[in-house]
Symmetry: C2
Subunit: 390 residues, 2 copies
């Protein structure tokens, strides 16, 4: 019996670039994934974490993800094996999961659930949500200062050993999970990926930990090239989230598993628009000789990094008039100045309030604080903190 899975991950529903929502592109990519699942007659979906972009996604994202899950699991009756990733809030995403399970939608958000595999055809499917070594030490009742289980590789070694106790001989074994896994094959790619080895304070996991699994469906890194081996793979995200991924192809894996082995094939997705990064001065950006080399006005999505700091009042308007859809306009110079202020504040241990106010201001004004404003806030916070301690 061959079991056929569609492996996808890192949907990051609700993600925005600047104030630009990616929801339309994410929905289009999802519809392509649905079509592939139907055309390829897959038996189930492996969804390897980061369903949402944040622990508290906006309600538009909640509605969008729910629509996708309903289409897959309720309308198309496709079983789903899913875990929460580091971007998901386990409690919020996991609310109601026990009811979903009755319709073969298995969503794991806690470590304890990782040791209860689901028997599905001739496979045993294990699901391990993203967790911190601290969570694992609590689960295994290990003292924090014992020196045990310090790294995520330590944790995974123990978790996989406990999973193997549940292995039924003669069945195939699949794991769905969401971590940074390294192997000889992917070192170059993981280094250039958005997610570096230090994210979340976690070092990587050695791919050899998973040798006894027939297939490991990973999420976390957004490029399939980051896959450490042919049996331990990242599907990557369905759409491009940043300009480092501009040259890469997005897609899903179709994975066939039986007792003779694993075969996976890559199925590319076809986004209707690409994400193009422009790092130029304002003068260059508004020069017809420059911009006419790009398809514009909705054909592409532009992310602009200004190399200068032009004093133009309708800067955004001018750029939108030329380029059409602009995801974000970044001012690296101003960012650097803000970082300087933040650094000084950190030394005064005021950074968290400052950061909160920055975020609050950006949310309310859809604009960043300038140097002058930052200094007013800095002085105010220092004044307030003196008030409090007086």
């Amino acid at each position: 019996m061959i079991m056929r899975f569609l492996h996808t991950a890192d949907w990051h529903i609700g993600k925005e670039l600047g104030a630009y929502s990616l929801l339309a592109q994410q929905t289009a990519a999802f519809n392509e994934i649905m079509q592939i699942a139907r055309d390829e007659k897959v038996d189930a979906i492996l969804l390897a974490g980061d369903l949402y972009d944040r622990a508290i996604p906006p309600t538009t994202a909640v509605n969008a993800l729910e629509d996708m899950l309903k289409a897959l699991n309720l309308t198309s009756e496709l079983p789903i094996f899913a875990v929460s990733g580091n971007h998901d809030g386990p409690a919020r995403l996991g609310a109601g999961k026990e009811w979903r399970e009755a319709n073969q939608f298995y969503l794991r958000t806690e470590l304890a659930e990782a040791f209860v595999p689901i028997e599905f055809g001739n496979t045993q499917i294990f699901m391990l949500p993203f967790l911190d070594p601290l969570d694992a030490r609590i689960y295994y009742e290990i003292e924090n200062d014992s020196g045990e289980m310090r790294t995520i590789n330590d944790v995974m070694t123990r978790v996989v050993a406990d999973m193997k106790n549940e292995f039924t001989p003669g069945m195939q074994h699949v794991l769905v999970s969401h971590y940074y896994v390294t192997g000889s094959r992917n070192e170059d790619y993981t280094l250039t990926s958005e997610t570096t080895s230090s994210v979340g304070g976690l070092k990587g996991i050695d791919v050899n930990v998973f040798n006894d699994f027939d297939y490991v469906a990973l999420g976390h890194l957004h490029l399939k090239q980051a896959s450490p081996s042919k049996n331990v793979q990242y599907s990557g995200s369905p759409i491009k989230f940043n300009t480092k991924e501009a040259q890469s192809e997005k897609g899903v894996f179709i994975v066939d598993i039986d007792d003779t082995g694993v075969n996976s094939k890559w199925m590319p997705l076809h986004p209707d628009k690409d994400l193009i990064l422009l790092t130029e001065s304002f003068e260059t950006l508004i020069d017809a000789d420059f911009y006419q080399q790009y398809e514009r006005n909705g054909a592409n999505l532009f992310s602009i990094q200004l190399t200068d700091q032009p004093q133009v009042s309708d800067l955004r308007k001018q750029l939108v008039d030329i380029y059409g859809e602009i995801a974000e306009i970044q001012f690296p110079k101003i960012q650097m100045e803000m970082n300087d202020v933040a650094k000084r504040l950190k030394e005064q241990e005021e950074v968290s309030n400052q950061t909160l106010i920055q975020e609050f201001y950006e949310e309310v004004m859809h604009d960043k604080l300038n140097q002058n404003q930052m200094e007013i806030i800095e002085q105010t916070l220092i004044g307030l903190s003196r008030e409090v301690t007086d």
Copy 2:
């Protein structure tokens, strides 16, 4: 065939008084409700809105509510008929509701769902979530400036008429909903209730709108005395949320319905501690002759309103040492001064930022801003607004 329901509402899971979490009391009350449901052998639970206290509840509240729903519906196999209230976020609370429904947990969060009754024994159960007249005008495709459906009473008249089209003759008809409903019986109580007729900009609904229902299980008002008739009732909240309710009894209704009519009985809950309001000067509060009249040190929960503004640095500590558990200490005098500042700011159209910063400060510091701090922020906001418009 007699159908027996347990009618409860307004759980407000996640609610805090000041920084004091009510979760322990809410869990104790829930356990009592579970016991009543078992002892009374009810056929189903009617849960009339405000399951959560806020649209984005803390994860402790998510986990607590999910535990309660699992205990009721998955462990005890009790059907639940529930609606979202004005405190619930319909999208977040409603996520996954389609899967819950397979186990007879019916949760309605949208108007469109109100016209699909569930046949349950000899009853047809309709569920109408809280909504704004604006939502109804969108649903019914009524122009905002048409003058139609201005009030919630207009909306309810139309909604009930549409529900009646779905009535199966010979069955009993039950509605679960979450609104401010007025009748001759309850006028005194609704006026003194926390929720006044102007909350949410909504006027009340005339109880006579519901004449064709056998029973209407309401949420929204927190005292059973606010019930407009014996067939249109508020169960009230399971625990006391504010000191205006200090004299009232909390509980649930057990409602028997068959073709001969409706019988409901009140089942009181027995909180292990009461909420006691003290409005006194600091001097009185620390006077043994005064405080010895109360059971203290965990036996009761105190809400303190200071009538003066004492210059005591360890005020909270002194009061906690005497009274044990204190939910909140209010300073009405300082509040009035803050209102004065807010009023001045409103005239300068800066009130919303000011309010946000106040709330932010209170959340971070668990303390209120004093007059001096308020003035610094006022000046800063004015300065910032000049920066922005420059």
